[in-house]
């Protein structure tokens, strides 16, 4: 127990020790997990669209919380099982009620815009989870929101929840062409002051964001949440010079900088390997990183003096890091 504090990633410092209270199957591959405080206390409230990082074995993954965030007694996440994924979803799926887990405090990275006159939520598959949180908060505060939900027949998670919450403002699609048609209608009819939020696989988000900007939506009103999405693209090959030893390490396409360093026998601290926990940060001395993480702030990304080596790559052929 005490070892967690030293060994864990920055995001898991000051984490919560929670007990798994309930497990519910949403679909054959998506399962919901509800955590509570073992002593029965309330949990820290959170901003709609927040995520927690759940430590599972030696892995840590980020999952969206599905509640409104107002004075919660429990946290619920829904997890898609990816059998060959490295992230530990399969391990989570094997857990039974009563299990104890380390769960980070909620972190906000996909908040509703308070000044929006209407929230247009667009989700595909497991991307429904942060939208459920947004919808619940909108219902609690009386804000205007509508949901466009695309899922494969028989694979729709949280359908009962969203149908009850949204009523008339829900539009469900189970195939691509009807989704595209519904999207075009929604993008055309939204009043001024509407903000759009999208979550789902990368290709889905690209389609929605592209269609929105084609329809004249300014980028400041478009918000996307990449969790739960497919793998990052493999990226271009590049090489890194390690300033302390002078060694040059090649990073091929499809291999992460972290993996390349490990392959050359170097030890880099890591935890999530997804760019969320902050553990694997390395100082950059020269070159321009292609930041693909969710940990560094925009300002830190612009400063270009650090890189999360588990996901980020290089814009130039060469990068020099202080290592």
């Amino acid at each position: 127990m005490t070892a967690t504090a030293e060994a864990s990633a920055p995001a898991l410092h000051d984490a919560l020790e929670l007990v798994l209270a309930d497990v519910t199957d949403q679909t054959p591959s998506i399962r919901s997990f509800t955590f509570r405080d073992p002593a029965g206390n309330g949990l820290p409230p959170y901003v709609p669209g927040s995520h927690v990082i759940v430590q599972c074995g030696d892995k840590a993954n980020a999952y969206s919380l599905t509640g409104s965030g107002v004075l919660p007694d429990e946290y619920t996440i829904s997890v898609l099982r990816v059998d060959d994924g490295g992230g530990g979803s399969a391990t989570l799926h094997r857990l039974a009620p009563g299990a104890r887990l380390t769960v980070s405090r909620p972190r906000s990275a996909f908040a509703p815009v308070a000044t929006a006159r209407h929230h247009l939520l667009i989700a595909a598959g497991i991307g429904i989870t942060p939208m459920l949180s947004h919808m619940r908060a909108a219902a609690e505060w009386g804000h205007s929101a509508s949901l466009l939900y695309s899922y494969r027949q028989g694979e729709g998670a949280h359908l009962d929840d969203v149908r009850e919450l949204c009523g008339e403002s829900l539009h469900e699609c189970t195939d691509r062409s009807s989704f595209l048609a519904a999207l075009a209608v929604r993008l055309g009819e939204q009043p001024l002051g509407t903000h759009l939020y999208v979550c789902g696989p990368q290709g889905f988000m690209d389609t929605v964001l592209h269609a929105a900007s084609e329809a004249g939506w300014p980028a400041s009103r478009l918000h996307s949440e990449p969790f739960g999405s497919a793998d990052l693209d493999p990226g271009q090959p590049f090489s890194v010079r390690l300033s302390r030893s002078g060694t040059v390490v090649d990073v091929p396409s499809g291999t992460s900088l972290l993996e390349a360093l490990e392959d050359s026998g170097l030890k880099v601290p890591f935890m999530c390997r997804q760019g969320v926990c902050g553990e694997c940060v390395l100082p950059v001395l020269r070159g321009t990183p292609e930041h693909r993480d969710l940990y560094l702030s925009d300002a830190e990304k612009t400063a270009n003096n650090s890189i999360m080596c588990c996901v980020s790559r290089s814009r130039d052929a060469g990068l020099e890091i202080d290592f």
Binding site: P44, R105, R107, S108, A114, S297
Partner: protein, 327 residues
Amino acid sequence: MLSTQGSTLTPSVQRFPFPFREDSYRYSTNVEPAPQFVSTDAGGWGDRLIEIDPHYRSELEERAAILDRDPSRIAMLAHMGPAVWDTITTLLPVLAADYPDVMSFTRERRRCHWRNDLLRLDINFVIGDASTLPMEPLRFIASQIQDDIALLDQREGALWLDAGVITFAADWSLGFDVGMRFLEVHGPVPRVHEEQIITRAQQFLMRLQPGEKYRRTNWTMTVDRRLDTSTETYPQWGPDRLEVVDDPELPKRLHLRVEVQHLIRLPQSGAILFLVRTHMISLAEISAVPAWRQRLGRVLAELPEDMADYKGISRYRDAAANWLLGG
């Protein structure tokens, strides 16, 4: 040494947040986690988020009178409703935990009970339902704490001052500032260097995670124990700044004014709560603590002209420094 001295000092001096750690002062980001006890030459301060002192009732009465007279001191854009409730449900439990003898807060889902014996208040209210409070929610929370309140919303990669109750502010005006970007609220600053500090401060604030609490101090000086030195009331207090220089009562009239500012990321709305608590102590009271007397004297004597101008103390700072250092 400390204990013999401490015994003769009033509680407000013992708990005064004396801000100087060196004999000169320059701007810095000086942000630290809160709450956190800091010991001083007179005692110490900082172990509580909300400090209640012997001026509690009189200051809250003064605030109420200011708000009745000048409603522009309280302002809120419509979208800030959840942030105000978030402020209430964040601060009342903190007060109840720190002052259990005189305050208590209990909550059952959205139904809350609040008791504040200092104000003879005992109420039940429902979160989100303004009609269950004795007054509008923002004014209500401002009637329970001595701090001024500003609420910042974060969007479009910036922070916006979108709600607040500012009655004791050192020379700024809420009616004019509400709806402005945080960076603009700070207005013209005398040194490029400070401008960067504010930009960095904004970056820091935008990264605060839910529930995180930090604080910093700021200082200036005020003639007489006048809390309300807002832009609107300048005609009432501005002339004193010149007049006090030759007044034999200067040590009693001139006050070191320290703002303890708390920066809190509210957990449910994601807004940033900015609390500004003003503490004042006269030069005469400061002289009861020899180390403070010397240090403030040196800081005032050394302060560059542009910074003294910006703080609005240039007219009397030499007179103050001379008295403190000359004895």
